[in-house]
């Protein structure tokens, strides 16, 4: 074999490697807006100790949930436990950690462990309550005080252990993630057919605690949380005097029941909340000509106002700019097929968002954290499937998040602006998935029945 052969071989191998790791690196605009794609903080997370026998099973749940929460956060690189010192030496309080750091400063920071931070702690169950002590330390600076030292109280149940893990994870993510609060205690509302008729269901952000919310015995779809997560607006098909049509329904989480909302003529669907929680925008055919147009009302259905005048076109899926409340992004087929448009929240200044090639663009959703310019949507390109994209509205730059694994639709941002929940039929059934907003780390949350139309609570 000549030198040239070896050179070509190396080049070919390099090319294969490039193709195999084909996920494009997020561009600078995306890193700046989401904080994703920058260097993650490497954290050592030895199991938290259980201080007495009854705590044992709860500590197991706690450790598993805390690890998972930090692992999916997108900003923390959890060092594998196989690199840690022997488990019987794992510290669970500062009195055990400090001597290790003083006597052997590199014990947690040397390669391959290479941690820069360590989180330690312990759990004690007494009666019906569960206490958690937790510390977060900089292992490269042993003499510095802990970044976090906190006691948490919860219920001595599996649910209580999960919640304590979520609280601690949120605190750690908040401290290490530039002040953006963690999302471990947020919820996802969605439509599910698992008990037959499509009803609304709610689950924790990680897929735990899935439970049915509505019992209307008619389709309940397109749910959206109010900004304070106290109510859910959705599309329902509740019959009235023998007639059925799509109507706006409101569900109160506090009262655990439907609130009154007026019926309008024709089809009314896809309600979305204004960021101050005072208005709803939705599609309605109540107007002249019965064309599906965007309307707004107050949250009790009063003062209906028509915003779009698309004339013989469909105008739907409105979403408010969560930062300013001054702009609405929506879908219209006035150009022949569904595409994205923006307008001012009074209906003026309608601008089409041109995308490079023609296609079918639906399900827009606006990032709650970025400077009001980052949107995600589902796009079926002419020869392709429904895939999710993120776009910077200011520069029109795009990042493709899913790559032809089934149909991927209806993205919704987590309040940290780093995660998206969406529906995908990549397993052969429509299920709810989450992923980081750069398209990595996708996780399936639902498994039973068909599940779709997810929406992430902002609290």
């Amino acid at each position: 074999m000549t030198t040239r052969h070896i050179l070509w071989g190396a080049l070919a191998a390099g090319f294969v490697c490039m193709v195999l790791s084909a996920r494009p690196a997020p561009q600078d605009w995306f890193k700046a807006e989401t904080g994703l794609g920058v260097k993650k903080i490497r954290l050592a997370l030895p199991d938290f100790a259980s201080q007495n026998a009854p705590t044992q099973p709860l500590a197991g749940v706690f450790n598993q949930v805390l690890w998972a929460d930090l692992d999916v956060s997108g900003i923390i690189d959890l060092a594998s436990k196989s690199f840690y010192p022997p488990p019987n030496t794992w510290p669970s309080q500062p009195g055990q950690l400090q001597p290790q750091l003083q006597q052997q400063p590199s014990s947690w920071s040397q390669p391959p462990l290479s941690a820069s931070m360590i989180a330690i702690g312990n759990l004690t169950a007494s009666g019906s309550s569960l206490a958690l002590q937790a510390w977060l330390n900089d292992v490269t600076n042993p003499s510095a005080p802990p970044v976090l030292a906190k006691v948490y109280q919860g219920a001595a149940t599996e649910e209580g252990a999960r919640d304590l893990a979520h609280q601690l994870a949120d605190d750690i993510v908040g401290l290490l993630g530039g002040g953006v609060p963690g999302i471990a205690r947020t919820h996802i509302v969605y439509s599910s057919t698992q008990h037959g008729v499509t009803e609304l269901w709610v689950m924790d952000y990680d897929g735990a605690n899935q439970h049915q919310l509505t019992h209307l015995r008619t389709e309940a779809i397109t749910p959206r949380w109010s900004p304070d997560a106290s109510e859910i607006a959705f599309t329902c098909f509740v019959p009235y005097r023998g007639a059925v049509s799509a109507q706006i329904c409101l569900y109160s989480m506090a009262a655990n029941q439907l609130m009154h909302f007026p019926r309008y003529p024709g089809t009314n669907s896809s309600p979305a909340w204004s960021p101050d929680g005072r208005e709803l925008a939705f599609m309605s055919s109540m107007g002249r000509g019965n064309d599906p147009e965007i309307w707004t009302t107050d949250t009790s259905g009063g003062h209906p106002k028509q915003l779009t005048f698309g004339l013989h076109s469909v105008n739907t899926e409105p979403v408010w700019n969560p930062k300013t409340g001054q702009q609405i992004l929506f879908v219209s087929d006035r150009g022949g097929q569904p595409e994205l448009y923006t307008m001012n929240s009074d209906g003026s200044n309608v601008v089409k968002i041109d995308l490079a090639d023609m296609g079918y663009v639906v399900d827009p959703t606006w990032s709650p954290t970025a400077q009001g310019q980052l949107v995600a949507f589902s796009w079926r390109r002419p020869a392709g499937n429904y895939d999710l994209y993120v776009m910077d509205l200011a520069s029109r730059q795009l990042l493709q998040l899913t790559h032809d694994e089934g149909r991927n639709e209806r993205p919704s941002w987590a309040p940290d602006g780093r995660h998206l929940v969406f529906q995908s039929d990549r397993t052969g059934h429509l299920q709810i998935w989450t992923m980081l907003a750069d398209g990595s780390g996708s996780r399936q949350l639902t498994k039973v029945g068909e599940n779709f139309s997810p929406n992430w609570s902002l609290k």
């Binding site: 397109t222 089809t267 896809s270 599609m283 055919s285 739907t316 899926e317 639906v362 639709e409 139309s453």
Partner: protein
């Protein structure tokens, strides 16, 4: 009135009259082109094709005869399930469920499509006769749904033909009110389809209104893709689901 203003008025009247006359003529053009094209000369003539079914309402297990004629076509494809056929002919079909048949004529001058729908009643549904039929049975027999192309709410010729029959029923039964439901196939998105279905229902109602049926007898709504008539993942099925469907209102 001086001469100049008289002349102006006359001109306006003349233009108005011609416009009205022209508009009137336009409306009398039949919805389905049946006029044979002249023999080809010079540039290639576009093909024409016409498909019909007799009868277009059968019970499950019975058959219907599809007949077609064409001009200027070099190839004819009849779907679903028949395939390439001669320029003119007929064939018996026995669909198990209501089916829309398409014939595509291809020639040097382009393509043409004609569609016809055969409605299949459940096997034990008695074939209604004028004497014993209930209103519901007559409704099922005589009221025809309108079918649409993908992502479209425009009425095709076969949809106009179907709605013309529906209008006839509604004229004969002036006390009947209907719900017009818009439906879409599974390929579109859920939320957009709710709007598209509404536009299909609107299109059907507008056409019926133009045929003299009072708009307030027809309530429109949309199911989007939520209540499909057919759940297979192919064009035959998708076509079944792209429709404006009529039900009798209370």
């Amino acid at each position: 009135m001086n001469y100049r203003s008289y002349r102006k008025t006359a001109l306006i009247l003349l233009v108005a009259g011609l416009t009205a006359f022209g508009g009137g003529c336009k409306k009398k053009v039949p919805a389905t082109p049946a006029v044979p094209a002249p023999p080809p000369s010079g540039p290639a003539q576009p093909p024409t094709v016409r498909l019909s079914a007799s009868p277009d309402f059968i019970s499950k297990g019975q058959s219907s005869t599809l007949s077609w004629t064409s001009q200027n076509a070099t190839q004819l494809d009849l779907q679903p399930g028949v395939g390439t056929v001669e320029a003119e002919g007929s064939t018996k079909v026995s669909p198990n469920q209501s089916t829309t048949y398409n014939i595509t004529a291809t020639g040097p001058g382009g393509n043409a499509v004609s569609t016809v729908r055969i409605t299949v009643a459940p096997p034990n549904a008695p074939q209604p006769t004028a004497e014993n039929a209930t209103l519901a049975q007559l409704f099922d027999r005589d009221v025809k749904d309108a079918f649409f192309d993908f992502n479209k709410a425009d009425l095709r010729p076969d949809a106009r033909q179907a709605l013309t029959q529906t209008a006839e029923f509604l004229r004969q039964h002036s006390d009947v009110r209907v719900a017009v439901e818009g439906h879409c196939d599974e390929r579109g998105s859920l939320e957009y389809n709710l709007g598209l279905g509404q536009r299909r229902a609107n299109a059907a109602r507008e056409f019926l209104t133009s045929l003299g049926i009072a708009a307030d007898r027809m309530n429109t709504m949309s199911w989007g893709k939520d209540h499909p008539f057919c759940t297979e993942h192919n064009e035959t099925c998708w076509q079944e689901n792209r429709r404006a469907h009529f039900t009798m209102a209370q």
